[in-house]
Symmetry: C2
Subunit: 345 residues, 2 copies
């Protein structure tokens, strides 16, 4: 929280070697600079990359107020009790100014401050589409490379996030709660597509059984139409893992995270799902899909960044170019093709 300004950072590359030794402060700085985007972390990420791919990644998503943070804290405790080191990435869109994220960090830090086996970071950066940014994937790699055995990625389930988290995680938990009003519950096609496990939190409140019933009938409906064309928006999941994986029916677990009720059952289901992925070979196909998607996203970002930079060098600022395009004085197709033909022989 008191990292020195960028100028005082050690030269690029040295952070990575310290991360590999498990130095929390170095990992924290590297992730902060990935999140801020003020520092080109590529050389560090290159050093770390061969050491990634060992962590088990659990995604936790759901509407605001579903109690995801409390549930995450309980899961941390359960995994710690089982002797696992834990990393948590909380992607917090509630404050674009990171205020909320930092406050959240501090409150959580207190609960786990004395435990070196728990490493929690909040990210404020959002992708261009409002989804989890590539920064999240890079920060996940930092935690992975430093040897965290279980990494929990927590995010509010808003549109694209739900899909993105399924891309990053081995197992995705969708957290719902009763009594948030019918509108919030928003039974969208999206949550069915990403949920490997449903957690109905605050299950001691009225209406928990109704939520469970609704989920059950959604799952039944899906079974009935399986083999049919994907639902509207289903193509969004192209390249993403299908919910659960073949032969997996998402279980629905009632929990009261605040009282630690049912969290052991939830954890058992998470472990059962990971075992299913391993046994069915789905783990490997998800790894491949993830590698493809992340690599294409990386390539797209790098190529666009370099392309825009060259365009601005050669043709002036993007704003001016857009003005000429809007006035039909410049031809966007010719500009794009000119850049591509020049740049990619």
């Amino acid at each position: 929280m008191t990292a020195p300004p960028v100028a005082l950072l050690p030269p690029s590359g040295s952070l990575a070697s310290r991360v590999l030794k498990g130095e929390v402060r170095a990992a924290s700085r590297l992730m902060r600079h990935i999140d801020d985007g003020t520092f080109d972390a590529t050389s560090d990420l290159r050093v770390l990359f061969p050491h990634t791919g060992r962590a088990r990644v659990i995604g936790i998503t759901g509407p605001p107020g579903a109690g995801k943070s409390t549930l995450t804290d309980r899961l941390i405790a359960h995994y710690r009790a089982a002797g696992k080191t834990v990393g948590v990435l909380a992607v917090d869109p509630s404050s674009p100014f990171t205020g909320g994220a930092i406050l959240g960090d501090r409150i959580r830090m207190q609960a786990h401050a004395m435990d070196p086996g728990v490493f929690i970071r909040s990210l404020a950066t959002r992708g261009n589409l409002g989804g989890l940014s590539r920064a999240t994937a890079d920060c996940l790699r930092v935690m992975d490379a430093m040897g965290r055995e279980v990494i929990i990625v927590e995010t509010v389930g808003v549109g694209q996030d739900e899909i993105d988290i399924a891309q990053l995680a081995h197992t995705t938990v969708v957290v719902l709660v009763p009594g948030m009003g019918d509108d919030i519950q928003a039974i969208k096609a999206g949550i069915l597509e990403v949920a490997d496990v449903f957690a109905v939190n605050k299950a001691d409140l009225d209406g928990a059984d109704r939520v469970v019933r609704e989920l059950r009938s959604m799952l039944e409906l899906r079974r009935a139409v399986q083999g049919s064309p994907p639902p509207p928006g289903g193509e969004a999941l192209r390249g993403a893992p299908a919910s659960g994986g073949a032969g997996w029916e998402p279980p629905i677990v009632k929990v009261v995270a605040a009282r630690d009720d049912g969290v052991d059952v939830l954890r058992a289901q998470l472990d059962r799902h990971f075992q299913h992925l391993t046994d069915s070979g789905e783990l490997r196909s998800r790894d491949l899909a993830r590698a493809t998607t992340q690599f294409v996203a990386l390539l797209r970002e790098r190529l666009l960044r370099a392309g825009l930079a060259r365009l601005e060098r050669e043709r002036g600022h993007l704003a001016g170019i857009a003005e000429r395009i809007a006035a039909r004085e410049a031809d966007p197709y010719a500009l794009a093709d000119g850049l591509v033909l020049q740049g990619v022989p």
Copy 2:
């Protein structure tokens, strides 16, 4: 509907000149090939581009079953009665195999088959993110260049679509209906962000007033928090027009599209909004934002396509590369940077 196979198509470029003469068959073929992606339409689009930017674009979105098609048909009739030529782009995700789209076309064609002032096309192509694809923007340009005065883009409001349609349209109508169950109504932050006008369709059904009341309180809530940080997912709209534009409060219009009740009022509100955009200067800033977004999207797509092609030429198939990345035998950062450094000096 009976376009010859690609091989029989006239050479690229000649379709565009026929489109500029207003030839519906040529426009239809060009759009079909843009949608199919079997034909590089760039040279045609380059010819058309200087002739675009004249059409007024109305976006219509809302949940499945809201009666968007019926409402669109009614609006067509109203704009035709006012002497305007009309184009309709129906982006239909309900059938990834275009069956639904074509059937929809045929049914609609019958209603307007004898009117050369109405041109309706359905698109089946979806973007990678499940959103309206860039093909939609290109087809919009074809209709624009052929001189359609009013173009209606109709799509199911699923996630990203709502945002994309606001990018394309001058005025976005969100259509809601009573009695679809509380869950479907799904009062998401998204619809507030994109709606310039709300249409509550099937307003003769019970519950229409409740929908209106809910919308009113959402709008009041938004007024109360205006100036606060954007809502979760709000950054998704970066570069997109703010709902309504400064000084515009989205009106809520009750309609019964099937009986043509209230559609005149809706049309008056659409015209009032366009006048507001013109008077406030918002029209120009939206045009600029749209030009920027579309150009960057074009650039991103072209650069990635060329980059991937070169990568596969030099390093083998993407699937193999992904396997080596997943096995940590290849370094995605080095691959991406190598391509960028080579390609964009």
